[in-house]
Symmetry: C4
Amino acid sequence: MTKTRARLYRQLAPEGWERFGLSPTNKLVCLLILLAAFTAVIETEAGIRDAAPFVFDTLEAGFAILFTVEYLARIYAAGEDPRYGGIAGRLRYMLSWWALVDLLAILPFFLGFIAINNAFLLRLLRIVRLLRLSRLGRFSQAWSALAEAVKARMHELLLSLGLAGLLLLFSSACLYVVEAAHQPEAFGSVPRALWWSIATLTTVGYGDVTPITAWGKLFAGVTAIAGIGLIAMPTGILAAACSNAFQKKNAREEQ
Amino acid sequence: MTKTRARLYRQLAPEGWERFGLSPTNKLVCLLILLAAFTAVIETEAGIRDAAPFVFDTLEAGFAILFTVEYLARIYAAGEDPRYGGIAGRLRYMLSWWALVDLLAILPFFLGFIAINNAFLLRLLRIVRLLRLSRLGRFSQAWSALAEAVKARMHELLLSLGLAGLLLLFSSACLYVVEAAHQPEAFGSVPRALWWSIATLTTVGYGDVTPITAWGKLFAGVTAIAGIGLIAMPTGILAAACSNAFQKKNAREEQ
Amino acid sequence: MTKTRARLYRQLAPEGWERFGLSPTNKLVCLLILLAAFTAVIETEAGIRDAAPFVFDTLEAGFAILFTVEYLARIYAAGEDPRYGGIAGRLRYMLSWWALVDLLAILPFFLGFIAINNAFLLRLLRIVRLLRLSRLGRFSQAWSALAEAVKARMHELLLSLGLAGLLLLFSSACLYVVEAAHQPEAFGSVPRALWWSIATLTTVGYGDVTPITAWGKLFAGVTAIAGIGLIAMPTGILAAACSNAFQKKNAREEQ
Amino acid sequence: MTKTRARLYRQLAPEGWERFGLSPTNKLVCLLILLAAFTAVIETEAGIRDAAPFVFDTLEAGFAILFTVEYLARIYAAGEDPRYGGIAGRLRYMLSWWALVDLLAILPFFLGFIAINNAFLLRLLRIVRLLRLSRLGRFSQAWSALAEAVKARMHELLLSLGLAGLLLLFSSACLYVVEAAHQPEAFGSVPRALWWSIATLTTVGYGDVTPITAWGKLFAGVTAIAGIGLIAMPTGILAAACSNAFQKKNAREEQ
């Protein structure tokens, strides 16, 4: 019995797999997660779902059962981990962040009374579990390198986000002042002008709302050019941080 | 009395706070600035303001009184700083850049006769005060690193801005020459074509104005591809400058 | 006879040319490929083709004959390479990746019965042959430097692509939930919302589909700002990787 | 006489000014160039020109006369340079690249019979002269650093431009194949589809032309994501090259 639990733990817990990458079971789980997400996405298209509603309902039920079995197996196997031994340990495990995500992902099937839209978002939540598995598998080094780069320059990145926020606020305030009288629908208040401002500063530029007065176009032009700085600043910070993180990683590997 | 002033100075002047980050009072001021800005922004939406005009007027009066008290307290506490001692020193302080910003931010309330739009911009000006506080608080190192990076490569950044300006001018001149006859409204003069040119070179691309002749599309295509260079150049310069500034900072910290 | 083959091999096989860059014959082939691609592209414009259909048919026949002669010459010359000696070696050569591309590029002319659109894509395939020639000519060092940079950080790049995919999925799911009822045509299912989501996250922003509800605009704004991270992340990784690859290359050259 | 020439040379030829930056005369010339360009740009707006046509004609005549005087003075002063001594040397100088640009910039005024649009472009050409002056003045170091960075990685940059060209070609070919039947006006030929393709790959995204079929949207999505690589690649190369060029410059300065 204990041997089965040890085997299950080795297969299910990414920390328990001593070799490189993920265990075969976890690879299968990844595949199931992707399939379930794909099904959930495709199903939202009414034309596709209506062609074979039974197939989709069966698939959903199948995924829910498989993920439930997996959830129960994970709880059972968690006992291998000294932190989660015994009944109290299992309860602690069930309240851990990842176990709650696992639970949320199977709940909507069993609580059929939840509105369909919310259920859809919960089902999509399953895909977050991929993050946990990838963080512990083949991509673990890439994760740690990128996380180190972002963490090392967190203050600089937050600062450039703050400056971006100020820029957003001032450009939308300027446009509000000069355009409100001419386009009350689009620029009649600062929150409305913010929609235009975000589209411009991120260089998305939908074009559903554009200034029409000369002053508005002048401010918009300045905003668009400032938007380049908004993109260049975090990119430059990240590039420098990545460069540093990769060098450290290489230095560690050479030792 | 002097002790009170010393205490006030320690709490209000960011230079006077010897510990890391900001003093509790300045943290509160930051929060008040954010709240006041949020109120000012929300209030511009007629639907929201009309629902409870009294609330907004009271809030605005409250903020104005709080910031006035803060302004007077800062002037009083400034005497702690040897540069601003005595009446003459206080006057010098009141003419300093930041004190003027503080004054401008409370003025519109007391001068009720200013047109409402301008008053709105002045009220928004308060948010600039966040910059001063953040520059001296927790983000001071991030500020200095980014400022050092930008300053070290100022000439290169200005040069790429100048080249961008030339590119803007020539692309709008070309489009004016080939499109003016077909779209006089949008390309009838170089300043008009400049609107299209900025939207294209910054890759915003609203699409409210696009060339329709074959030559116009050809020039526009070349402009759009050149726009990538326009983004890549300052990003590359900033990345290199950040990399250098962060390395220097790390070297200093290791010593 | 063998001398002719050796000469042909030296001229045709990029590996056989001992000097820097490409052999004169291969330069001519590059020129022919570019001309043939240009003709194939221009020809799709009905107005141009109809002006002189005979010219285009003759050109296409000419290119097909030249590339056939080149194909046969390459097969003949391949015998110089010890791997492809004799009849069996020639067959092996004909089944190699690049030889198949060469064959696919001349096939459509001889199999006139293929539908015109597919034939067009096959004719365009010829241009892929430029890649092979450039990889062995003057650009060989640039190729290897860039390939090394991309390969060294493949996991980090794939990870940021994966995160981008998650972001795409969640932003389209959110927009689907809040906008489906108001714009069923554009946001009626997650795959439909994905079209908007890609345009926004890549900052393309066509503007053919934009959210109209307040919640939709809020989510869209967050998506657009996240899109900057989506661009900054791979750019930063590539910049750091290029920096490393170029330094290694410089170090090798100095030795 | 020779002393006047030496003085003129010192003031006019940027190489002749031994101190940092530009000579006072050349600073004035820069200002005049900017003013002349500004006048030429503003004048294209019919409403502005019609308000005071006489002012603009006088200004243009004034600029033309000043630049003619400057041109003649430069030819005279060129004799100071050993390369351009005597009559033959002056002729050689007049055929040098920059002297021809100077000539082209004053020609349109004296040849009044040229069509107005072309004359406008020639007048704008004057602004190119700013490049020469900036290259020798305060921005000379920034110019050389950026030029060194671009030159050192020219092959890599050209290669990424070539890959971008291939991407453009294939994405427009795919869209042509799948969309031609549905939108003959926008995707009826590869050159027409190229317009959409450039707007998408550079992330400009005007939105005047967008795919409407499911396959078209699929290819467009892939193109848009590939467009991020198209921006990231040259940015990464430039960042790495700038980083290297700045380090070399710093090392030189420290010696």
